[in-house]
Symmetry: C2
Subunit: 190 residues, 2 copies
């Protein structure tokens, strides 16, 4: 997606050769015009899947998923919870995830009420690195009996191996920008 | 807002006499059609304020704020971070918040890059209870030199005192549904 790649080159900041900071438009401050263009692109790539629900994980995926849902006939969005809250059901699907940016493992949870075996679920997230969050979300979808119909990622860092993990699960992966390397503070797209 | 009140009566679950579970449409599964109606209503109530940015706090506020921004000419949305991440700037505005649902105190942070003294900021959140999160967000806006132009809340629990705290700060508060009590598992609106 050219608009997104341009924005990454313009405003992204490479730290070391593994972290890309895009907090000016993607995951701290959020550019709603850009999110709508991303939503249209996800729609174009997954329109053949008859998606019934979008699943993401807090926090950075939520805004992207909500705006994208408008391009899928306003289907419901569910976000997996990373932190226990007194208002979360006891009866949940759970999976373990390792966060690359936070450097720790935690559980993600989705109430059993909101995904069922008639759903075709599109998973959306801001980044794909090692694939741990995406695998956890696929796991949760499959526990519910629903179909994991696809994964839509905004920025894939292909050098961290997530794509292979997801393709081994047999789930279609579509990334709007794929970064092959970030050597010498320079982003190189696929 | 009648549509929202109807939905709370239809799908909200009262736990004890202080917790209202609305995770089927507001803060776990999210009803994007309802969010757009809420966004229009926020626009109607704050259109005289010439808002330049929307500020919320992760995680439940993000979807509401992103959809609402579309009714304010797609202005940027910033979400305050509750948890430290390696991709957050070191240079942040900070405030302390007590979470009613999570029963603990934590810091919220916003990078100094994304709010400045020319901004007129609308704060949006899903719930107002004791007002601690809203006060923390007002504090952050004022640290930046920006104007805290208003607070838009989806559900205010008036019996927990948040309104008084905010009005003492001199910030306009607009809540789409105001609950006066939840005795005997029944929601009573103002």
């Amino acid at each position: 997606m050219e608009l997104l790649k341009k924005r990454i080159l313009q405003d992204g900041i490479v730290i070391g050769n593994r972290i890309l900071k895009v907090d000016s438009f993607l995951n701290h401050q959020m550019d709603i015009n850009l999110f709508n263009e991303m939503g249209k692109e996800f729609r174009n790539r997954f329109k053949h899947k008859n998606i019934t629900k979008i699943l993401t994980v807090e926090a950075s995926g939520i805004g992207i998923a909500c705006i994208a849902a408008q391009h899928f006939d306003n289907i419901p969005v569910i976000f997996a919870k990373k932190y226990n809250a007194t208002n979360l059901d006891k009866d949940t699907y759970e999976a373990e995830v390792y966060s690359f940016t936070k450097e720790k493992t935690y559980k993600i949870r989705v109430s059993k009420k909101y995904i069922n075996n008639e759903d075709r679920v599109l998973i959306i997230d801001d980044f794909l690195a090692s694939g741990s969050a995406a695998l956890g979300l696929i796991d949760i979808v499959r526990q519910s009996g629903a179909e994991a119909s696809g994964i839509g990622i905004v920025i894939e860092k292909s050098f961290q191996g997530g794509r292979k993990m997801i393709e081994e699960c047999g789930v279609e992966l579509q990334s709007l920008a794929i970064i092959d390397s970030m050597e010498n503070n320079t982003v190189n797209f696929k």
